[in-house]
Point group: C3
Chain length 339, copies 3
């Protein structure tokens, strides 16, 4: 592909050789003479040591290079270049004769099914959805169009996926919520979990993550919400649109997470609380109560991040204050003695 064509595709301004051959994109220090690289306005990179064909830089950047692609949104251009040079290809095309597909499952046109995948009764799968090998689709599951379901995924009975949902390997959607009745004489009695899970359009679920079915109604992950790996979403939770939950975060039962909430890794959220839209939560925080207004929170139990920082600075300086208290005690004793 000509560099000039790439520039047009990325919506970037090319300063350099529009006829140069461009074949890919790589990290700056690994990019070869046919590769783009993203530099943005990163002045710490010594561009004189680079071998890339062209650099994607911020419009107005002072970075000099033979071929420059100037843009207001370098990361968007980087993402588009990745899409351009690494278009999605279906790894397991067609329907494997080794899959076990129930006669009353309904597969739309272009559905792909890998070897040893099980599609049970009354499942419905939308157009061009790719189901890789070793997926287990329980009875009554509905999947929209254009989804990608990776190997090892389990979709329990009746769960519903919208369009363009991606489920990374090993994720479990619709396992029973964790509910028991404690009765003194009979031990623990399992509360049947008869609800379901809805993953709306463009949701992505990370590897080995778990989204439990509702007890009576549903657990819902709203459109474009993204879960990283090893995330736990308990029964009856709502994850708001475009919210992002980083790896190993756990959401307890019946929590309502608003839109555009961002959580770092290993965050925990207590049950039956709400989190306002747009809230940001630092890694390892423990959200112990409802957050009514958006803000940035950290710590366990959580505080707004400014208070949390102040507390921690004071905590680290506590020994100074202890010294000062002891000094005060000494002087006050002197003063008392002098009376």
């Amino acid at each position: 592909m000509k560099l000039g064509e790439v520039a047009v595709y990325l919506g970037a301004e090319l300063q350099g050789d529009e006829n140069a051959e461009c074949q890919g994109i790589n990290e700056p220090e690994r990019a070869g003479p046919y590769d783009l690289a993203l530099v943005g306005n990163e002045l710490r990179i010594d561009v004189q040591t680079l071998h890339a064909l062209a650099l994607i830089v911020d419009k107005g950047s002072k970075i000099e290079y033979p071929n420059r692609l100037l843009t207001d949104q370098p990361r968007l251009a980087f993402c588009m270049a990745l899409e351009l040079f690494h278009p999605h290809r279906s790894l397991f095309p067609g329907i494997s004769p080794l899959a076990s597909i129930s006669p009353d499952a309904m597969l739309a046109e272009g559905v792909m099914v890998g070897a040893f995948t099980v599609i049970a009764g009354k499942a419905e799968i939308g157009t061009k959805t790719e189901i890789h090998p070793h997926v287990v689709i329980y009875p009554g599951v509905k999947i929209g169009k254009g989804c990608i379901i990776y190997a090892g995924v389990v979709l329990r009975e009746g769960v519903e996926l919208g369009d363009y949902v991606i489920v990374q390997p090993g994720a479990i959607v619709g396992a029973d919520g964790f509910g028991y009745l404690v009765s003194g004489d009979q031990g623990l009695r399992k509360i049947p979990q008869v609800g379901t899970v809805c993953l709306e359009d463009h949701v992505e679920i990370g590897a080995n993550s778990c989204v439990d079915r509702g007890t009576l109604s549903e657990t819902r992950v709203h459109e474009q919400a993204k879960l990283d790996n090893l995330v736990q979403v308990a029964h009856n939770v709502n994850v708001g649109p475009r919210s992002r939950l980083s790896a190993q975060t756990g959401i307890s039962g019946s929590v309502n997470i608003g839109a555009d909430v961002v959580m770092g890794g290993q965050v925990g959220v207590a049950d039956h609380i709400s989190i306002a839209a747009g809230t940001m939560i630092a890694a390892q925080a423990g959200i112990s109560g409802t957050i009514k207004e958006k803000g940035i929170f950290a710590g366990s139990p959580h505080q707004d991040i400014a208070s949390w920082r102040k507390s921690y600075v004071l905590l680290r300086n506590l020994d100074d204050y202890v010294v000062r208290i002891k000094e005060l005690e000494k002087r006050v004793k002197e003063l008392m003695n002098e009376r």
Copy 2:
């Protein structure tokens, strides 16, 4: 089913129309004209807005409604109604011809085996146990009667399950414990993990949880203990009867957990310690040493919850105390100067 019959089944007193038709149970605001709903003594619900056929309420509750089911144990009645209207049905009945079952595996009457499940040599499976598709049962595994093993579960060689055990999708029972010998010159030497895992009667293991095999003897989860999703139980651990470990909790090697211990999510427990029966541990706590007497604990490292609360209140007010120290220093300086 007639509402009067439902009342008898639930052991509740019906005040209302015993001949009304009842078809299910749902959340109060979703329940329709043939559904029960659990209200208990929850006065925040505006019952005038509900469409349910009948409400399950506390005996003595002042909640008014055309049909009321009065009981001392509303949550038990709720659970029993769920069992009544959603009886367990086997999702993968029979033995799939697509399963791979070793000729020397012993399957009792009524065992169900899903497609592509592997049952290796010398495995023994008890009456009416349901093994879903895509389960891997390594050689020598013993499973009792009435168990449900969901898709994607792996039971490693020689592990033993009692009766009525439930293993949610993706759980791994019997992986190698994490043990290496560090020797300066040779790097790390794996310590063979040749023990096993025993899950006793009525144990439930959550989705994608891991229970490692013992190094020499066994890791044991005692009867009725319940593990939520993504829980880690390391080698040689004992989880006491009826103990409940919430999601993403991790138990280090050789820990002894007593009976009826309850842990919140993301708790960590250090190795080689014991936790007294009946102990309750708050989410995200870090149990750094043996707990000899039952209590409620929180924080990392853990404290009894009263001390922990006091520490955190003080921590949040530290800046006040700093102001007071500075004020004291000012006044003492004045007093010193006046001498």
Copy 3:
């Protein structure tokens, strides 16, 4: 086997009956009359209550027993005895006719493949590597010799494993990293993750752990590094040689972990930081910035362990200091009033 032969194999000095029959090794209190047991120099064990044939003890130990195996490295002798009495045996020998192996996959001599395992196009598998049932190997994967890949493992397209790598059940290698572009009007745009994962020689990955592929280049786990269960390693991370990450630890994107780093369980590491070789990190710590020099760290955000201990002792004694501040205030008020 004769006890004398065992002693020679373990490199230990036998004091006792070299002709005694020895059949195994067990925990001291479980060891029977044909078993070894490791005691080391553990004086709390009452050896008079033991039934073991022989004890492995520290050279110079004062522990008395009819048969003693004396050694400078009792744990090494223990590990070697485990290897001797529990030699590795292949649980799923041969190539199962129920596996789905692409015609252009290259399997070296002695490769074992279990039932329902999928080996996709252009995969390469080295000599004597054991691939258990229900493994999914995506196109272009390369695996060295002598590896063991347990059931339920997914190796995504193009990932590379060196020699003698062990992957415990359910681990996911090469899932997409967690990367999205946030654009106000279009919501979230997935950044294609086109890199790969390299697991070098003698690496072990725990059950249900996840190692994400790099965005452009690779995520690399260096030789002999060991990951416990449910560990998350994000895109573009380097885990240094011989480093050990305990269960439920999470490493954010682009982190560089040096050699011989040891992390306790549930540790979190923030993105784009480095951790010096030889560093030790306590369980549940949150590493918030680069660690340039090796040391022992704890807390979230992390501190060196001495400072962290001091902070926590002070925090627990805060109420004492508050009392002392109040007492000072009272006395200073008296003094002020007396002026």
